[in-house]
Amino acid sequence: MTPTPTAPDGLGTLAGRAFAAYRAGERERLSELVDLVTPVLWNAARSQGGAPAMCEDAVQTAFLQLVDRADSIQEPAAVLGWLVVVVKREVWRLARGARREFGVDEVPEAPAQQLDPEAQSILSERQRVLWKHVSTLSPRCQELLRVIAFADRPDYAAIAESLGMPVGSIGPTRGRCLQKLRTTLGTDPGWAV
């Protein structure tokens, strides 16, 4: 029942396979890659606090960079992590306007996740409880949980690494962020049903 940590069909694996095929000349496989990873990239972008239009631009730019640099990417299998990093940097760069005095490696900490009042109003009662608990976690944990929730378990480690989390802190184990979420939800009688 529980998926094994080595499941071969995780999102990152599928994305890596599509990208490798694209590089080998199957140009149409790029569409498959776009369809597969756009939800993860959207959430990686939005978790940086960028406005929706800015996040759409960042996702688009990341793919254009991927096309331009396709042949120089050393590990096609790690393409998902590569895209997450580029999207994150792109949102950060756009948010800073055209100012270039910052190195691209200085990616700042993600802000705490925000939901518009409008978005909050459409949540179910249970989602509202969950949101309350998610909001109590550190911004770093909020970002990590948001992004890995859109990937698959085999990819947690790679995505955590691309978000600047040491792999050892998550890997095949639960990791501190998931543990905190589990604990805070577990202490809420309103969550347990």
Partner: protein
């Protein structure tokens, strides 16, 4: 008592599922984002000239503001500096192929190569001496056209916005 060094279990998987549902519900991926990314990649890869959609009454592009799925296209004209393209989409006649679409078109360049890029891949034809062409057996859904002129290497390809057929 659980610890962060334990293996991920079913409850963690369920919690992540709830987090995913929360954000997917409160901050959904724009429905046309993936299609627009694909379009941008194609334009970028071809260094193409982007045709404008004319006949705004029949406008069916997938824009950011579209709140409803566009209605199926009947006839649409695109123009670019170097050419114009008109396409008409209709269901195919026979019973076995009623889920498929036939596109009749006309392009201002005779002998142009017209490629229809759909969710199933792409198919292309060469327009005749009058610029007419037929692309049949296309799937319903988003499509964009790429027009190149095999007889003239100097011209850039022209790419149209995505429409629904």
């Amino acid at each position: 008592m659980t610890s962060h060094t334990d293996a991920i279990d079913a409850r963690d998987i369920a919690n992540l599922g709830h987090v995913r549902d929360l954000f997917a519900h409160a901050d959904p991926v724009p429905s046309d984002l993936a299609e627009r990314v694909k379009f941008a990649i194609t334009v970028h890869a071809l260094h193409a000239e982007v045709a404008e959609l004319m006949d705004s009454a029949l406008l069916t592009t997938r824009g950011a503001e579209a709140e409803v799925e566009p209605t199926p296209t009947e006839s649409v004209t695109f123009t670019a500096a170097s050419m114009s393209l008109m396409v008409t989409a209709a269901p195919m006649d026979s019973d076995e192929t009623e889920d498929r679409v036939r596109v009749d078109g006309w392009v201002t360049t005779p002998g142009a190569r017209v490629e229809a890029v759909t969710s199933e891949g792409s198919s292309s034809v060469i327009s005749d001496a009058n610029g007419r062409f037929v692309l049949d057996d296309l799937p319903h859904g988003p499509v964009h056209f790429v027009v190149t002129d095999p007889g003239n290497d100097d011209t850039r390809p022209v790419i149209t916005p995505t429409i629904q057929i």
